[in-house]
């Protein structure tokens, strides 16, 4: 009973003190406020908390919990309860102890009210910081790095797969063409490094996507360079770009001829796009074939193939039945065919105007074929190019036999003379300029030498010498002019 009394009294005091503390600043509550003031001090730290009405109800259950931990104190309190003052002090001690135990159980006491109580606590005491990501033992924070490494691995995988595919395609092509080439050429496969001219019998790999093959040793031609220009399957960026814009693998064949293997003409046949591009880019086509490309339908060839030619006679001579047969059957694989005796490659862009001399020309036959499959080729598709190689060989033989008649020859010679004259005219002004500048440079150098001479005597003598030289030159020129005038007369 007494213990219950002891417990109830502090509870009642608490209940009384809480409203009293709120009214601390109110003078009406002055009397009997000694207790209240004590209460204020004691309960000062709970002031904010005690504003909640709910907390008052919570104080009731904790005291019973606190009770077992304060049995000793209660016994002291029993003795002390006779004198209320002391007892109250001790009650206060008990209260403070209870308050201490309250503070021990703060978290539990205010369990349901964390949202309201936590700000005050956290403002004063706890500041939670986040652990830096690299100190956390989790790989998830490094997701960008993992992405990067995965991308690199994907690139490497694609490189290996693409390289192998290109290599297999090249090998398949070579295997299907080997017999034909070996029966036609004495030298199949040469990379130019061996001392003796022996066939290497294999392709020369220039790149992961370009393979070369040089064949030589045949009548009617000097040699044949075959370039297998595959797509860049080993580069992932290229693979992705090709998904937007499909492109073909290409086989480019360039046959170089001797002087007597070919008559003088320029001819080209191919798709409209290819012809338009080549007419602008190629030096010889732009000079000799100035007409617009004509459709090939006139000669029995599919109409999407157009023809550029120097003379109609050339086309008639070339487009015999066998050639037309070849072209019609494999029209979708033909990108362009270019026969020229004035081949010098694409137009060279020079910064300082025109080049000072004509570019070297070589009699050449150029073939560009598209590999069927539009990028998704399999090694089996390479066999389909074999008939085209037959066409190449046939063309080489045919060109050797094709001769222009007299009219055609005259026309061709006239064309070439015209082109050369134009070129000389264009460069004449430039050559004159170049000579002029050279002469001026010489004069300036001489003058500088004279000026830099310290000795005035020497200077005078040098000046006189240069003057004499100039006079001599003038006299010579005048003599020449006189001679020309006499000749003209």
């Amino acid at each position: 009973m007494r213990s219950v009394m002891l417990l109830v009294v502090p509870a009642l005091l608490l209940l009384l003190a809480l409203p009293a503390t709120r009214g601390r600043y109110n003078d009406d509550f002055d009397d009997g406020e000694d207790l209240a003031e004590f209460d204020d001090n004691d309960f000062a730290e709970f002031e904010d908390v005690s504003e909640d009405q709910g907390t008052e109800t919570e104080t009731a259950p904790p005291p019973p919990r606190a009770a077992p931990s304060v049995p000793a104190d209660e016994e002291d309190d029993d003795e002390a309860t006779v004198e209320t003052e002391d007892g109250q002090d001790e009650f206060y001690d008990g209260d403070t102890q209870d308050q201490d135990s309250y503070s021990k159980y703060d978290n539990e006491e205010f369990e349901g009210y964390e949202t309201k109580t936590s700000p005050s606590f956290k403002d004063n005491t706890l500041i939670l910081r986040e652990v830096p990501a690299h100190l956390q033992n989790s790989w998830e924070s490094y997701y960008m790095e993992i992405l990067m490494v995965t991308g690199l691995l994907a690139y490497i995988m694609n490189y290996i797969i693409g390289k192998n595919k290109n290599s297999r395609l090249a090998q398949a092509w070579f295997n299907s063409h080997r017999e034909l080439l070996e029966s036609n050429f004495a030298l199949v496969g040469d990379d130019g490094t061996n001392k003796e001219a022996t066939s290497t019998g294999k392709l020369n790999q220039e790149n992961e996507h370009i393979y070369n093959l040089w064949c030589s040793g045949r009548v009617c031609c000097e040699g044949m360079l075959i370039q297998l220009k595959f797509l860049k399957r080993q580069d992932l960026l290229n693979v992705l770009a090709r998904m937007m814009r499909p492109v073909c693998d290409q086989v480019q064949i360039k046959v170089t001829l001797n002087e007597d293997d070919m008559d003088t003409f320029v001819f080209a046949l191919g798709t409209k796009k290819a012809m338009a591009r080549m007419q602008k880019e190629m030096q010889d086509l732009s000079e000799f074939c100035s007409d617009k490309p004509k459709s090939g339908a006139k000669y029995g060839v599919p109409e999407y193939l157009t023809i550029l030619t120097e003379m109609g006679e050339v086309t008639d001579g070339l487009m015999d039945s066998k050639m037309v047969h070849y072209i019609t059957n494999h029209a979708e694989k033909i990108e362009s065919i270019h026969f020229s005796d004035q081949f010098s490659g694409p137009k060279v862009m020079q910064e300082d105007g025109q080049p000072l001399k004509l570019p070297d020309t070589k009699k050449t036959l150029l073939f560009t074929f598209n590999v069927p499959g539009m990028g998704n080729t399999s090694p089996k598709d390479m066999e389909q190019l074999l008939p085209l190689m037959n066409m190449v060989i046939y063309s080489v033989d045919k060109i050797k036999k094709l001769r222009l008649n007299r009219e055609g020859k005259q026309k061709a010679d006239k064309n070439r003379a015209r082109v050369e004259e134009n070129f000389l005219k264009q460069t004449h002004a430039q050559r004159q300029e170049a000579a002029q500048t050279r002469r001026e440079e010489k004069k300036r150098a001489e003058k500088e030498r004279i000026m830099s001479e310290e000795d005035p005597e020497r200077q005078r003598r040098m000046e006189e010498a240069s003057q004499r030289r100039d006079q001599k030159k003038l006299e010579k020129k005048q003599m020449k002019m006189k001679q020309i005038k006499v000749k003209a007369m």
Binding site: S141, S183, D190, M349
Partner: protein, 106 residues
């Protein structure tokens, strides 16, 4: 005529050696990708090292890989290896100085 058709067109005495067309007009015709990627890779790796930017270093690694994939066989491997090493060292140095993971720009 039949004899002509059967005749062997091969002529051993007419063999010409292969001359690689390396000197004429090659810089304009050849693909400039490996050279550009090499240069880009070096620039990015220097940026990554000096400015301590992780994404620069990673892009440098990618650039050197792309340059390697597009390179010609005639190019010497020393150049490739040096650009590889430079970009990898840029990545490693960026992470040693600042082990925090890379944050995406969004």
């Amino acid at each position: 005529m039949s004899i002509n058709n059967m005749a062997d067109p091969r002529r051993q005495n007419k063999i010409f050696r292969y001359k690689p067309p390396s000197t004429e007009a090659n810089p304009t015709m050849e693909d400039p990708t490996p050279d550009y990627m090499n240069l880009l890779g070096m620039i990015f790796s220097m940026c990554g090292l000096m400015l301590k930017l992780k994404w620069c270093a990673w892009i440098a690694v990618y650039c050197s890989f792309i340059s390697f994939a597009n390179s010609r066989s005639s190019e010497d491997t020393k150049q490739m290896m040096s650009s590889f090493m430079l970009s990898i060292s840029a990545v490693v140095m960026s992470y040693l100085q600042n082990p925090q993971p890379m944050s995406p720009p969004w």
